[in-house]
Structures are given as structure tokens and as C-alpha cells.
């Protein structure tokens, strides 16, 4: 039996474009934590990357001098913007902790408990987020 080191390419399938790739995620049967983790990771990943660009953009404004920086700071002190930014903590926790779960599961460790791991990721992330937000607003 000959074995090729490159995976064989199925004859009829077309290589997908980016739209089809994203639609592929949306076709999840859903209803189980594994799929929820998959989707969460992708969505938080995209949002975090988007935020990174925003962050770089904001830092660029530092080069424009104290005047433009002050107006940006005023924007960030807006409570609604603060609330949105605080979501960052949730996304980082989710993405980061799920990343740890994936690092273990995707090399064969604890695969049987992958749903329980994700439940823990959700619990810790939302818990941490709640504590930090409450501390931010000086409730605790």
C-alpha cells in the first residue's frame, strides 16, 4: 500500500473562500458545549484582533500631541465606552482560558472531559468579569 505524506485532495470539492469558511462555522448543530467553545473562540478572537487595531490606532494618536490625546481620554471616560471596554476582560478571559483548554485537549489530554473544561472556562471567565466590573464601579 503506498502512503503519500500529503493528504489526498478530494476530486470534486472546491477550495472555500472566506465567506464559505465563516458560513461553515455557522452550520454547527449547536446544542453542545464543544460547539459553543468553538464559536466563542472564533468570535472573541475576531473581536480581540479588531480591538488590537483600535488600540494601535489610539496609541498612534499619542504622536499627535497632548490636545488630541485629551479628547480621546474624554471619550474613554464615557461610561458606555467604559462598559464596552470592560467586555474586553471577558473576551480575554474566555479566549485565554479556552486557549488553555485547547492546548490540553488538542494534544490528547483530558479529551473526555472537554465539555466540563469549557463549563469551568465559562464559570471562571464570567466570575472574574463580574468581580472586576464590580470593583471598577467600586461596588466591592
Amino acid at each position: 500500500m503506498t502512503v503519500t505524506s500529503q493528504a489526498p485532495r478530494p476530486a470534486h470539492r472546491r477550495t472555500a473562500g472566506p465567506l464559505r469558511a465563516v458560513l461553515g462555522w455557522a452550520r454547527l448543530r449547536g446544542g453542545h458545549l464543544g460547539a459553543a467553545a468553538f464559536l466563542t473562540n472564533r468570535v472573541t478572537g475576531l473581536l480581540l484582533v479588531g480591538y488590537l487595531y483600535l488600540h494601535l490606532g489610539v496609541l498612534y494618536l499619542l504622536t499627535e500631541g497632548p490636545g488630541s490625546w485629551a479628547s480621546v481620554l474624554r471619550l474613554f471616560k464615557n461610561p458606555y465606552v467604559l462598559a464596552l471596554e470592560s467586555l474586553l476582560i471577558l473576551f480575554i478571559c474566555l479566549h485565554g482560558l479556552n486557549g488553555l483548554r485547547l492546548a490540553l485537549v488538542e494534544t490528547g489530554t483530558g479529551v473526555r472531559h472537554q465539555k466540563a473544561w469549557f463549563a469551568a472556562v465559562l464559570a471562571v471567565s464570567t466570575g472574574l468579569y463580574a468581580v472586576i466590573v464590580l470593583a471598577m464601579y467600586e461596588v466591592i
Binding site: 502512503v3 469558511a21 465563516v22 452550520r27 453542545h32 468553538f38 494534544t107
Partner: protein, 256 residues
């Protein structure tokens, strides 16, 4: 059970009847159209029973595959309301109220109606040495500590293609070998039966092999046979990671 074709004007079905909207397609035809049938059913009727009823007594041009009627042959795979199922063991009641959408499996070429081309699946499994028989000693209904002599049995995987249909990566990248092939590969590695697993491991150790998976676990959820494709893929990775680490350790020892 009786079946009638209706238009899709949304009339209320009678008590004890279900509406099935079935994807119809003929070869050399562009696109698929949905055809609706109303079937009188009992509370435990399976999707396969409803489809056979339509075929026997209403429209025998509706083509579908089935054989064993008990999730052993794996050829009646299709999608019910978007979910991959084996028609023979899936009750219509699981679909909830309302019309039921019946489509062929995804990520495979549709030959006609609910029949898809299985060639790709079998070709994808070839490099894994097609394991068919395994050793086992796990009998149900026994307590811990009971021993029984091992027996030979068929592999869990019934090559139904539900995992391939459910996988979002297969759905977005045609080069990925897919969960079915990787499950077979893991079985060849876990139980080599005299063959050398190194060439199978070399085959899966590829960016389109076991590393292409992104852990959505859709395959394991879809699998009706308990073959755990996701577990197999992660086990392959674990094995590859272990071997790589061992190589690094050996390298380190040599240099000292």
C-alpha cells in the same frame, strides 16, 4: 401510515400526521427543490419508516439508501432539520413540531435526492489501512473487576459519513482529510495488528491531517456508533506530540 403530497401553502396538518419537506435533485440538474409530503404516523415512527412509506405508496422516484434498519450498516445517513442523523434510528418526534426538513448529508456530492457519492469517504480512509476488526473485552452490564476473555469484533466506525457532514472545517476547507479518515488512522495506530503504525502517523502528521482540526467536537456529537472521531484526532495529536518530545529528549541526551 399513509402519505400524500401537498402544496406548501402551510395548511394545518391533521393530528398524528407529519409534514416532510424533502430535498429532491436529479443528476445533470442544477440545484435542488423541496417537495413536501404529509405522512400519517404513529408516535414512534422513524424518519426511515416515513420515507419508505412515501416511496412505497406515493412516489417511488424518491431515492434514498437504507439496508440494516438498526444503525449497523450506516448508509441511511441524512440531515433532519439540519442535524446529521441515521434515518433508521431517528424518531420523527425528535424533530419537534412543524414541517421537517430532510436533506442529504453535507460535504459530499449529491448523486440524486438523498443519495450522496460515498467514493470520497472510502478514498479518504484508504491511507489509514482500513481497520475493520478489533480486539475487545468490554462487555456491557458487567461490574468492575469482572474479566472475560477478549473477543474479536468489527470496528465501531460504520463509515456513515455523519462526522464528515457535521465538521465545520470540512465544510470550509476541501483539503482537510476529515474526521472519518482520522478515526480510522487512530485505530490503525492504537491497534496495529502487526503492521507498522509509523507510516499512518506520518500521513496524519500534516497541516491538512490531524492538525487541521479545530476542536468543535461536532463529529463526536454526530457519530451514531460511538467511534469518537474527536477523541481519535486528539489521541493522534497526543501520540505525535509524545514522539516529538521523545525525539527532542533523545537529541538532548546525545549532545551531552
Amino acid at each position: 401510515m399513509t402519505a400524500t403530497a401537498t402544496d406548501m401553502s402551510g395548511q394545518q396538518p391533521q393530528e398524528g400526521s407529519r409534514r416532510l419537506r424533502i430535498a429532491r435533485r436529479r443528476p445533470r440538474e442544477e440545484g435542488t427543490h423541496l417537495e413536501e409530503f404529509t405522512v400519517e404516523v404513529g408516535p414512534d415512527a422513524t424518519l426511515l419508516e416515513a420515507l419508505r412509506e412515501i416511496r412505497s405508496h406515493h412516489d417511488n422516484s424518491l431515492t434514498l439508501r437504507y439496508s440494516c434498519c438498526h444503525s449497523s450498516c450506516g448508509i441511511c445517513g441524512m440531515r433532519m432539520n439540519g442535524r446529521e442523523v441515521l434515518a433508521c434510528i431517528t424518531r420523527l418526534a425528535e424533530a419537534g413540531p412543524g414541517p421537517i426538513l430532510v436533506e442529504p448529508l453535507a460535504n459530499a456530492r449529491v448523486e440524486h435526492d438523498l443519495v450522496v457519492d460515498m467514493r470520497e469517504l472510502y478514498e479518504s480512509v484508504e491511507p489509514a489501512h482500513r481497520p475493520l476488526i478489533r480486539q475487545d473485552d468490554l462487555l456491557a452490564g458487567l461490574g468492575v473487576g469482572d474479566t472475560s476473555p477478549p473477543f474479536a469484533r468489527f470496528e465501531d466506525c460504520i463509515e456513515c459519513g455523519l462526522c464528515v457532514s457535521a465538521c465545520p472545517i470540512v465544510g470550509s476547507d476541501s483539503r482537510y482529510v476529515g474526521p472519518a479518515a482520522l478515526t480510522a488512522a487512530w485505530r490503525s495506530v492504537a491497534e496495529p495488528r502487526g503492521a507498522d503504525p509509523a507510516d499512518v502517523l506520518a500521513w496524519v502528521d500534516d497541516e491538512q491531517g490531524c492538525w487541521r482540526c479545530h476542536a468543535s467536537f461536532e463529529c463526536a456529537e454526530a457519530c451514531p456508533a460511538g467511534a469518537d472521531p474527536a477523541g481519535a484526532i486528539m489521541a493522534l495529536r497526543g501520540e505525535l506530540a509524545r514522539r516529538q518530545l521523545a525525539r527532542i529528549v533523545r537529541l538532548g541526551r546525545r549532545e551531552r
